[in-house]
């Protein structure tokens, strides 16, 4: 029997026929990268290939790397295989990677969500034989409400606090979630201040032509009273630090899919938890998998063993793959 099109090694997902890895976690010669989050785009590879839209953030984060870019849908021959990148809807530039070899097609999802967020190119179902999927929120308790409802919740929280003269500090991942929120904020309520890590990513995205509302970078000289009614967009790890305390008795919020769980919400000790994720919910995962038409499914990260059993029940040939991807983490700042 011939080698499978993709194999799973201790360096990462490997394509023997094309001699490249996808999102490897140890240094390799040739790395195809789905998106710029730290658990997928790691330093130390000899050559990188990613979408043109993901490239600026990767360069910003990984420095002077040998990076080649492709557009969504553009086909590339690598060794004996054809690869192409397709929108994953996770963050701007994020891609699913399609690999074709003698009529057999595999797709590696990276991280994805199916609901359009108004910022990233929307998720595109790609027909394939085998689908390598994440399942960060692969449990039927995770069901996202439409983005507009969550946005309204955030804005009414902001407006209520602004009316009482209190600042709002909203924790969100610097790459992706922060810009998605920026786009959803009602700027008539007040000014938007940003933490340095968020503003750096904003600058990279603005430079590549993504329109974002005006923001004011918080510096040591920033006086909160000069910005009444402000919403401060910060990284989750900045909440509760001396950096955040300069804003006085502010109301704190945190935007993450994990906020769906009361226990997690309470443990974060933020005043408000907003359920917003850049990963697919239960329905999203199931519909995405269905639409690929794939019969073989590999679950890479999240509730993999439970999700595999569910897929097997549904008649798929499903397996769990051990990877170093972390999905939407509460502890680590960057892996989202």
């Amino acid at each position: 029997m011939a080698d499978p099109l993709l194999t799973f090694t201790d360096r990462g997902i490997f394509c023997p026929a094309g001699n490249f890895h996808i999102d490897p976690w140890r240094p390799v010669e040739s790395a195809l990268i789905t998106h710029g989050h730290a658990d997928h785009a790691r330093p130390g590879h000899a050559r990188y290939l990613a979408t043109d839209l993901a490239a600026p953030v990767m360069r910003h984060r990984l420095g002077d790397i040998r990076l080649d870019t492709v557009r969504y849908g553009e086909r590339r021959e690598i060794g004996d295989v054809t690869v192409s990148f397709h929108p994953a809807g996770h963050v701007p530039g994020s891609a699913q990677i399609r690999v074709e070899h003698r009529g057999e097609v595999w797709v590696v999802s990276g991280d994805y969500k199916v609901e359009p967020d108004g910022l990233s190119d929307p998720f595109e179902p790609v027909t394939c034989h085998a689908f390598v999927t994440e399942c960060t929120f692969g449990l039927p308790v995770f069901k996202w409400r439409p983005q507009a409802e969550t946005a309204a919740e955030v804005n009414s929280w902001w407006a209520a606090n602004a009316a009482e003269g209190r600042a709002c500090i909203l924790g969100a991942y610097a790459l992706g979630k922060a810009q998605r929120l920026l786009n959803l904020l009602d700027t008539t309520i007040g000014p938007i201040l940003t933490h340095g890590a968020v503003e750096n990513t904003n600058a990279v995205m603005r430079a590549q032509g993504i329109a974002l509302p005006d923001t004011i970078l918080v510096t040591p000289e920033t006086k909160p009273k000069d910005h009444p009614g402000a919403l401060v967009l910060a990284t989750p790890s900045a909440l509760g630090t001396p950096w955040a305390r300069r804003f006085g008795p502010a109301s704190t919020g945190f935007a993450s899919g994990w906020m769906a769980l009361r226990g997690v919400r309470r443990r974060r000790a933020a005043d408000r938890g907003f359920v917003m994720s850049d990963h697919a919910d239960w329905e999203g995962l199931n519909s995405a998998i269905r639409e690929t038409g794939a019969t073989r499914i590999f679950a890479t990260h999240g509730y993999t063993s439970i999700f595999r059993r569910w897929l097997t029940d549904q008649g798929y040939d499903a397996a769990v793959v051990q990877t170093d991807f972390t999905g939407e983490s509460l502890e680590e700042e960057d892996a989202a």
């Binding site: 449990l139 308790v141 226990g263 439970i306």
Partner: protein
């Protein structure tokens, strides 16, 4: 239930005491009186009787959600709360209603009279009219164990703000054997008649821990000392020829302790004693687990009654001749207590907790070192001129416990917590060394900071050797100092010992597994303190 669900959300969304009290005070001023009464009941630990088993609820929820039961059962420990799991897993409601809290509690109580198909239909119909938070509240009401992050103390403060009635007065009104079925908001709170309920206890006065020694308390002559007994707090009431016994958790436990009928024979009507319940043999306290056996039973077989007889070690007198004397200074209450209890015959199960004479703090400090020899946990210090207050108030009563016993142990199993601690590994099993073996001897759940729990959780995920259901066998690598208050022989445990109040007092990053304590060390402690 919109209004109650909104209250729940408001309380849940803040950690700030003032915001909670304000939200609750608003609710207690505005909601319908029946809903107010149920809210007070829920926040003082009273709940409707359980009318559906959780097994049925799980099966119905999984069926309604269109998922197999195993998938529900996998999701439950991850969410960490059954009521929440059900609320999240169900499809959105088909319709909305705005029926109040007491309506839904009525529905839940009504389930008792229905057969199973009708119960199921009623529960499914309720689920289909309530949005997620309301559903969660509804499920919590069915399953019990409802916590809203508001202590009875805060609830009393909010109620005081809503009604204008003073807090201590309200605290007393809300004590005792009432339920929303047996009274009304008006009768319980607004137009309270203290003689209406003969079993009504007084709020317990609770002591703070004295961390820094007694020197800061001032003149030793202003203070009285006694042993701190290792039993459970109890309030014994004799009124109208009947006795009533209350635990600190405000549970009426008279039926479990029939021996106190003898006390009612010897004590005059209108007497209320505060003290410690202890299993008692040969005029000395028995180990705590003897008392525990008694607490675990609703009715007491004769054999157990003979094996583990219980007494009240009385230390305060709250009511005499039917008069509330809580405002009388402690020293005077003690004198009256000693007169009342000092002459009781030995078959009356009440013993005076003796006052400990001492000249200065040094003398008392020395005395404290002998606590364990006296089967005591340490000392209690009470200001002689103090009134008997309600709840935990700083200043007049202090508990001064002896330092805990400790042992350095190896973590070998880990399990996730529930509720606030879901998704975190917080429940651990610890072992001592025995040659090349590790012998498990205790579990512990508390003592680490949130940051430490996060850290150990991340470690457990990466260092699991085997899984047994929810339990993970982890690499024996981390040593923790386990602190505990007592140790006893226990044939039920592999190690042969059982600890009292074990907790993690320190993460010994400095100690390798090879330096953890041994089974022999543990047996030495058992010999010395068991």
């Amino acid at each position: 239930m919109n209004r109650f669900a909104a209250l729940f959300t408001a309380l849940d969304q803040t950690t700030k005491t003032n915001t909670k009290v304000a939200a609750l005070a608003d609710y207690l001023s505005e909601a319908p009186e029946a809903d107010r009464l149920w809210t007070i009941a829920l926040l003082s630990g009273r709940r409707p009787k359980r009318t559906v088993t959780t097994t049925l609820l799980r099966a119905w929820a999984a069926e309604r959600a269109g998922i197999p039961l195993w998938l529900f059962e996998e999701a439950y420990p991850i969410v960490g709360d059954l009521a929440e799991t059900i609320a999240l897993i169900l499809p959105p409601p088909a319709s909305r209603t705005d029926l109040g809290l007491s309506h839904w509690i009525g529905v839940i109580r009504g389930l008792a009279a229905l057969d199973e198909p009708a119960r199921k239909a009623a529960v499914l119909a309720a689920w289909d009219q309530l949005e997620t938070t309301q559903r969660f509240v509804f499920n919590k009401l069915i399953t019990g164990g409802f916590r809203m992050g508001v202590s009875q103390k805060l609830m009393t403060r909010a109620l005081s703000r809503a009604t204008g009635i003073a807090e201590p007065d309200l605290a007393h009104r809300l004590m005792g054997d009432w339920s929303p079925e047996s009274t009304s908001f008006r009768n319980l709170v607004l137009e309270h008649d203290p003689t209406a309920d003969l079993s009504k206890p007084y709020p317990f006065y609770l002591a703070y821990q004295l961390d820094d020694g007694p020197a800061a308390l001032g003149d030793p002559q202003d203070w009285a000392a006694e042993w701190k007994w290792d039993g459970i707090r109890g309030q014994l009431i004799v009124r109208d020829g009947q006795f009533h016994l209350w635990s600190r958790g405000e549970e009426l436990i008279s039926d479990r302790f029939p021996e106190f009928a003898r006390a009612a024979d010897h004590l005059p009507d209108g007497t209320v004693l505060d003290g410690e319940l202890l299993a008692w043999a040969d005029e000395t306290p028995m180990p705590f687990n003897a008392l525990q056996k008694r607490l675990g039973r609703k009715t007491v077989p004769k054999k157990l009654l003979a094996e583990a007889p219980v007494i009240l070690r009385a230390y305060d007198l709250l009511e005499r001749d039917g008069r509330d004397i809580r405002q009388t200074p402690y020293a005077e209450r003690r004198d009256r207590l000693e007169t009342l209890v000092g002459d009781l015959p030995p078959d009356a199960p009440v013993r005076l907790s003796p006052r400990l004479p001492f000249g200065d703090w040094d003398e008392l400090t020395t005395l404290r070192q002998t606590s364990r020899d006296r089967q005591a946990e340490g000392l209690m210090l009470k200001r002689k001129d103090s009134a008997y207050r309600d709840g935990r108030k700083r200043g007049d009563w202090w508990k001064w416990k002896v330092d805990p016993l400790t042992i350095d142990a190896v973590m070998i199993y880990a399990q996730q917590g529930h509720g606030r601690r879901a998704n975190l590994f917080t429940d651990f099993t610890f072992a001592v060394r025995d040659g090349n073996q590790l012998v498990p001897f205790t579990k512990a759940y508390s003592g680490l900071t949130d940051a430490e729990f996060n850290k150990i959780t991340a470690w457990v995920r990466r260092n699991t050797l085997e899984r047994y259901g929810p339990v993970r066998h982890v690499k024996p690598e981390h040593v923790f100092e386990i602190a505990f208050e007592g140790i006893q022989e226990s044939p039920r445990h592999k190690s042969g010992v059982a600890l009292r109040f074990p907790r993690m007092s320190r993460w010994r990053h400095d100690k390798p597994v090879s330096e953890a304590n041994t089974l022999d060390d543990l047996k030495e402690i058992l010999k010395a303190y068991g």
